[in-house]
Symmetry: D2
Subunit: 336 residues, 4 copies
């Protein structure tokens, strides 16, 4: 009954690549057989710890003929080509978000992916967070009746380096992209976007004409309205909350505390330590679940992995938000 | 040292008029001497309970010469004329919100009010809620550093009657008006408005071309961004929350519970009874504080009562939101 | 249909007497007609504010023939004689707790009160707190099944003056007496008591051989076990909590906050201002409800007012706790 | 710099033995080399999964000469002999609690352990729970000033099988033993014990003359008072809470939720799913930390592992509680 573990090739041995390498090593249905990074020493380090043959060449991994699945965790500009190459040889791909910062390039590959029938999943890890996943399942189960409003709050602890901001594609494509996907997770058919962006504290954003503070309105085809609130910093830790409001009630996903201990003194009560620092801790369980779901997808089992189309849709919304914020208009979108 | 209590005339003996009558009776610096309502029996009932001479004529109250202050709690279309008449005879006014649904009429009276020097205060009661007032004072005291984002959630328990919706001026002028003022309480100088509205559950709103669900983005001159989330219903009670997010932290105002008791069972833990039903309970303390602050204003003491200009500004924002939602644009506003 | 308001005589114009005077004045079924205090100026001040004829003589109040009910808020040593005198002339009494510090004196009056048929209620105000009352009603309604454990935490903000400690009868008779009654509110038939007391911070307690810190175990006839935790100080405000644990769940009564505002910063999240200072604020609503229930008792309507027997039972438990703590034994009690 | 991993022998391949086997396998400073269980197939299963040579003989493990440390997770009656045998050959032991149910046997081994200098640690895993450990460290750091009161609530989800109850030594030695150690973690020098026990719901307890419900008072030499509340069942999940109350405030350790999601409806707000089921989930992190600290102990590094003396002290308190509950007295104890 037991199937052989899926043999993974991993492209990218940076921070997020290491998360995936560890996840593959920990999952008994997966094994790491090849790791590539243009910085070969990085690939070697990951291979030494989690297994597999290190390499400086992504092509080598894809064409070696000994992998069942490809995990793409390399820089964004490489994603489209790597997906394309994997699809060519019929190897399923789990690719980190976003597919690309340029919708033209995403669209160029779109029909090929669809026609190939090769599973391509996007790394929208938050869908696999137990809190968000449970809230969405409970909405689907009707616990709050018809969904009418959705509020997503997403604030990073500290701004990224200025250099990164310059190549990030802007806050909507880089950071809000996760929230656009989360909005679509609850409200798949979004038809209109409005957005405001400001630059109030981050010199890196200022330097590159980007925003550090943003808010977005989304309207679903059903009339449901979603709001997204973003900031590139948060003094009290990683702020990741969601409220789904419906006809019969509300489901709320709270922040993840770091401790069960509260202090009560003459100056304050119920004071807890700040929230978790960042996504590696907050979404550790989600990364593992994302991988498991991708393995199911590859094996042809029922799977909820977000698809290439989901990756594209989030980018469509990001582009719309960018335009809405720049041109002071609400932008109609037709995804599909 | 003790001053004589302020002699109040009250116009309007409906639900909100009764709240003010009770407030005047309970405040040792105020006394109710005249009550008018076009439905005279209503005025008589209020006078019987809280004191004063009942009447069917507002003019009679204003011109009788025995009142020090006027409290206007009659239907919105009467506000402008009543303020005007009171200003003519130099009597300070505390007028329920909104001044009027038509900005033209508000503007027509504007310079007269300003020139008169007669104190005219607007009944934005939420400014006097201990939670909101404390949060705002703590923002002003620098507890969270520079204010960067503001989130206001405001949901009524149940939609108003369809007939009321028809004369309400629409959700932005009728309901969101409170939230526009609350946004200005924290962020006085608002320069841009975007808004989405939907009609998803309320037949009254559908019938009158109004929204039952809405969301608004506001941008302050500083770059700070506010979001407002509204619904005309809320299964779990009156939903009135606010978060002020800044450089160094966040202040959060929670809903008011109805009980300190939680239940823990095999199906759920920390389950509390639903929130308070509606504004009369939720803002009982605020109405009393609003009255006290108006008394200070009349007496020439330092006062934080919102002014005619505040009433006008909230209407400007409501008009802008209505236009933004209809025309799918972001609307630049210049209040002042 | 409306009955004439009950005419109250009040003995005692101190802090707690003033609470009751204000309560009588605010209740439309009650009117204050006489106030006595051995310090006549105090009686005069209360009468001037809340009505009634002031006097220096309690007897005068009781025998004047114009009161329907007596409220006893004078020092503890006077309670037994005042109840006795009121019973003699057939006037119902609401007496502040405790009846007396000496069980012999309480027992001496016991049969007379019982035989008289005159309603005598004890001022165990906490039974009327909405939180505790609701928890008890929900236990009675079976929400948690059979009651198995009860935890009462009761900590005052600061120790009383040393002089007061000297005449207080000790922590168990003075402070825990409320918690003994609360335990009996949930678990009427208590059969065994163990107790520990310590003196760890209060010089007043040390000087008078009293405890400032105590804990009590109580066993009900059903086998249910209650714990009481007391301290004469609490840095974070008045600490008044209760948990009723049963077969199918738990009901928890939380502390009463002073604000709906929480602060989130780099050092702590969800930090709220400290709890309410003391019983006048915490139990304001309870005092009003206690009075209403006593009025029902006097009028022969169904009433839940605690009785003379409840007052005696709490003292029996206090005596048992004192003995248990001193003699290092568990004390069997038979109340009744 | 890196040391060779510690070679562990494990005695006992049952539920808790498997937890330790997994912990050893997961810790890079430990390796499982031998596993013994009188039920050999169990040992084989554990060895197949986590490594090591399986055996039916504990002696074989201890005397093979290839282990650096022994982990004892076999039934309680075997603990004393196994510790003794390990000490004879100089092998450090981490032994599950309790050492034994009979203080005579514990005392018989006491001086030998002390004289041997061989590290013997007791498996009081809760000391290593991040919440309890942090609370204790913060008390030690003076955050709440002098410790005056300690409240420990500990309720299992469901009663053990009746057969287990019969050999458990009774609730105080079997279940409360953890809470006695936790009390000593905060308040090492306990001098007096009172206890109540009841049998209210569990037929197994009734059959074996044991309690299913218990409460304990402990007095520290400083005068600080601790209360322990136990139940053998809890409808809402594993109930593990603690409050340390001091001169300047309180530290509270809350239950561990299973989800960040709350539901708000017309019947209740903030309703969360029940707490974690039982100790394997609740203390998963604690087991890992316990092992790490034992490894430090074996290596001669500073370590906070609880000792043989800690194991004995908890049993002294359990015996005292049993006697206090049976004889209706408070029992003075001298630990040491």
């Amino acid at each position: 009954m037991a199937q052989a573990p899926l043999r993974f090739g991993l492209i990218g041995a940076g921070r997020i690549g290491q998360v995936h390498a560890a996840g593959i090593a920990a999952d008994e249905d997966a094994v790491l057989v090849r790791v590539a990074d243009s910085f070969v020493a990085g690939a070697q380090r990951v291979a030494a710890r989690y297994g597999g043959i290190p390499s400086g060449s992504a092509d080598e991994v894809i064409t070696a003929g000994d992998i069942d699945a490809l995990l793409v965790a390399s820089p964004t500009p490489t994603h489209v080509d790597l997906i394309s190459a994997a699809v060519d040889v019929g190897i399923p791909v789990l690719c980190e978000k976003p597919i690309d910062l340029d919708l033209t390039r995403v669209d160029a590959l779109r029909s090929k992916v669809a026609a190939s029938g090769v599973p391509v999943a996007l790394g929208f890890n938050r869908r696999f967070d137990p809190g968000f996943a449970s809230a969405r399942a409970r909405v689907a189960a009707g616990e709050i009746g018809e969904l009418e409003q959705l509020s997503i709050i997403s604030r990073d602890p500290t701004p990224p380096p200025a250099a990164y901001v310059g190549v990030s594609g802007g806050i909507f494509r880089d950071m809000t992209i996760h929230d656009f996907d989360m909005a679509r997770f609850f409200l798949p058919d979004i038809v209109e976007v409005a957005a405001f962006g400001s630059t109030t504290f981050d010199d890196g954003a200022r330097e590159h004409g980007d925003f550090d503070t943003a808010a977005v309105l989304l309207r679903g085809a059903s009339g449901a309205i979603a709001t997204i609130t973003n900031s590139r910093h948060s003094a009290f830790g990683y702020d990741q909350r969601l409220e789904a409001f419906g006809q019969r009630g509300m489901l709320q996903v709270a922040n993840a505390g770091t401790s069960l201990v509260s202090l009560f003194t003459a100056s304050a009560v119920e004071a807890k330590p700040p929230y978790q620092e960042f996504f590696l801790e907050r979404y550790a369980v989600a990364y593992a679940a994302e991988l498991r779901e991708f393995i199911r997808l590859v094996r042809g089992e029922p799977s909820t992995s977000p698809t290439y189309e989901d990756g594209r849709a989030a980018l469509v919304l990001a582009d719309a938000a960018q335009r809405a914020a720049s041109e002071h208009i609400a932008v109609r979108v037709g995804i599909g």
